[in-house]
Symmetry: D2
Subunit: 278 residues, 4 copies
């Protein structure tokens, strides 16, 4: 018997938990985990429910739509592995980490392929029997390069793209083709140090902590909804290069943590913010 996941968000009103759980109860579905949040600033309700039982999807959704207010968004899904494509450039640490987790069945995903604008990580990827596509950006316009990347992505039809230190800025057109479905790791505690060379920026500013931020990508550079962040302390003995080395473990851990949340369907996006329910 499979576990199902129900994600609901709608304008808040009285009795929503009762109404939703009553529908599940009538369908003889057994809730095993339930998380709700009411964002009072926006008067909006979010609920994530895991339940067991035999589901007639159509009837269940119909029952829910009947009792929920206009503007409701409902997603009925499950805990099966999601299909993902990884994009990388030259740095290996995030890609290595995801490939290892995937190889040992610790990532709730099927890694369909790796795409890179260099071939540096081809050997690594092939160790794990994952297809590797090198799409060099040399001599191409941004549009032409993205078109070539997109063509490969479309062959695989992934549910999520993961930018595992993919060091190219994506165009607005590319991003809007995957709304809230591209996860990026940025090597700073955003909003500090947007853009290129955040560790060089961090060194120049003399900070005592550095960090990393996993976020959904939208069409503004490093401005998308943040999923997870973490930091480590640094001191005057770290120059920009040493910060870069020290930051790698944080980057890979934060990216892995955020993917776990996303792949487990725990993340709602609300404007520029994420709501993460157990």
């Amino acid at each position: 018997m499979a576990s199902h996941i129900l994600l609901i968000n709608c304008p808040d009103q009285s009795g929503l938990v009762y109404k939703i759980t009553s529908v599940l109860y009538k369908h003889a579905l057994n809730i095993v985990r339930n998380g709700e949040f009411v964002d009072k600033n926006f008067n909006h309700f979010f609920m994530r429910t895991e339940f067991f039982g035999e589901v007639d999807e159509e009837l269940l959704l119909q029952g829910l739509y009947e009792i929920l207010p206009d503007g409701v968004e409902i997603k009925l899904t499950d805990q099966r592995k999601k299909d993902i494509v990884l994009l990388a450039t030259k740095e290996h640490h995030c890609l290595s980490d995801l490939l290892i987790r995937h190889a040992f069945n610790e990532l709730n995903a099927n890694v369909l392929c790796v795409i890179s604008n260099y071939n540096v990580l081809e050997e690594l990827t092939q160790k794990f029997n994952i297809p590797f596509h090198c799409v060099s950006h040399e001599g191409l316009t941004r549009e032409a390069h993205e078109a070539a990347v997109l063509k490969i992505i479309k062959q695989y039809n992934p549910e999520f793209l993961v930018l595992a230190k993919y060091m190219r800025v994506l165009s607005s057109g590319f991003v809007t083709a995957f709304p809230n479905r591209i996860v990026n790791i940025h090597h700073s505690f955003l909003p500090a140090f947007v853009g290129a060379n955040p560790y060089a920026q961090a060194y120049a500013r003399g900070v005592k902590i550095i960090g990393a931020t996993a976020h959904f990508v939208n069409d503004q550079l490093d401005q998308g909804p943040i999923i997870a962040q973490s930091i480590i302390p640094v001191d005057h003995t770290h120059n920009a290069k040493e910060m870069t080395q020290a930051g790698r473990d944080v980057e890979k851990n934060v990216l892995a943590k955020s993917l776990k949340l996303v792949l487990n369907e725990q993340v709602f996006v609300s404007g520029n913010r994420t709501i993460i329910l157990e």
Copy 2:
């Protein structure tokens, strides 16, 4: 219109969230925050609900008992300030912190008095216009000293006792008079370094982290249900005295954090563990 808090725990069964929220819905009560947890190891259900609305307590409880399984425990309370008594010995940092928070209305409690086995902290306590009772243990048996302390406590009839670095072991008799109502701060990350002089033990063991643990007191030394823990890094430059100094901020922060949870009625005790719901 006041906010109410409903705490329920019972053997798990299907439909509990639906059943409970249906009773609240029939009473026209508006849930603003809801947390549930099913402990699958023990097949037990925990729920904490904050709601607004006019409550007929008797009818509401009757309605809940009717639909909930045998063995259910229900607590209907609210967010009013709880009455507490603080016990301390000679070290000021936890007491100072609580008195300051109390003075600025940041502690969801009425501090009724401070009791100590020394008079070292009398001057501090009086700055904040809180009654101070010195009950020296000199020349008294443990029983006689505890009896004298208890006599004072009973005058004040507190809901919780807070051991803010009270350096005396409480007898089983004393503790059982306040089941899960005594909060202690222990200056180690339990279960490491039970008992006296944890920092001296930590130094001797050569640890690289030290910590503090806030827990409910039961009749086994430093074995009660843990509410909150935190740590800080140390290194070879810290001797036991320097660990003691470095640990103070952790101790006071952990005690304050645990009290916030306890006073806000977020903490369930289940055997030797706590379940903490938002």
Copy 3:
């Protein structure tokens, strides 16, 4: 026999540790702690030495200047308490923390007085028998207000000013009168959220960590050399007000930590960065 502290920074060259320690050895001074750092980016040497022994200051400094390169800066000081003045506005938590530490002799400083642009914290300050000066900014130009504040400060002749949540921007003129002698606590992990209402900015950006930064004040807003930073995790349940509350403990802890370093003469300023030696 008192402990002395020697702070030296100069262009790096070979043999500096040997040369410096040889002078101390000839003066029969006994080093108990020694920290050095060579900033290779700027080819600059920093050294902090604690030593015991009877010192002829003039001869010692002469001996050091003779063997050290042009451009050397030498500071010979000791571990006596430094004189400080605290500035605050309406929020109590940083001030409370410092006053408590001062009262229990845990701050390596003499708090000479508290100055505020409101009288909200007068009662608190007076509990600890510290002079309180209210200098309202109402109806005054920035210049006139700062002149009034400066007049009071000059009476006390402090070595350091501590901005314990002093919510006024200081003019360039004010700041340059106390070069690297004003310590401020900013309620964000700088350089994120410069300026006003950082928690409101943090909420709007949807960050998953918030923090605080203690720094020396220079004439650019929130751009001075950072001494210490710390963070705590937050999530979607924190609105700006709850972030503000959660951030208080971080703010006071970071400010206290940075003051310990500054008052113990462990902090070098090098451009916009601090070098902190044990």
Copy 4:
């Protein structure tokens, strides 16, 4: 021109830094990094110096022994890669992490081989072209199994052994053959939860933090000198299995961190404690 590392420890006395640096100065060696620590509890001096220059090892050591007190220990080494052998059982995460770092030249070591009492990790190891030796303990006494393992180790003559989740207790005889040269990762914040199944112990105790400890192995179970420790928060939603999963990232990060310190010759062992110098 290579970088050399000099490690000295001896009973403390006045002028040691001067005396040591004077010898280096006479040999025209250029110190680039220097760390000292005086353990006042034991009146013992520790110093680690990195320097550049052409070294006549014999003359340098002779010069140092002449001016240093009886009982001094001197180690003159360099930053070349150390030879190491990895031992594992069935869990991959620490081994994966080290193999990946090794493959990308981020581990200051030559991984000579992997030895395991199971063949589960053979495929992983072979991806990275590292010899894998399976030595099953089935049907063997502890002595016989250890003898078989030792025989393989001796072929490779490593400088350090790394127990990357090697789940067998080593005999005293085995351990004493590699004094302070075996690094183990234990999956708890020692001294909490010594021995088997620390996460099950942690769950049973209801702790709110779990951690990991990297330490040198001595002949008492989980009692050797601690090199590094780290923790992560957990809560009531984590059962023992979920703690185990959550703990993996901490384990691999702490092991990697401790190896970096050990392989970079930064760690002194003093009784049951480590002194770690920059």
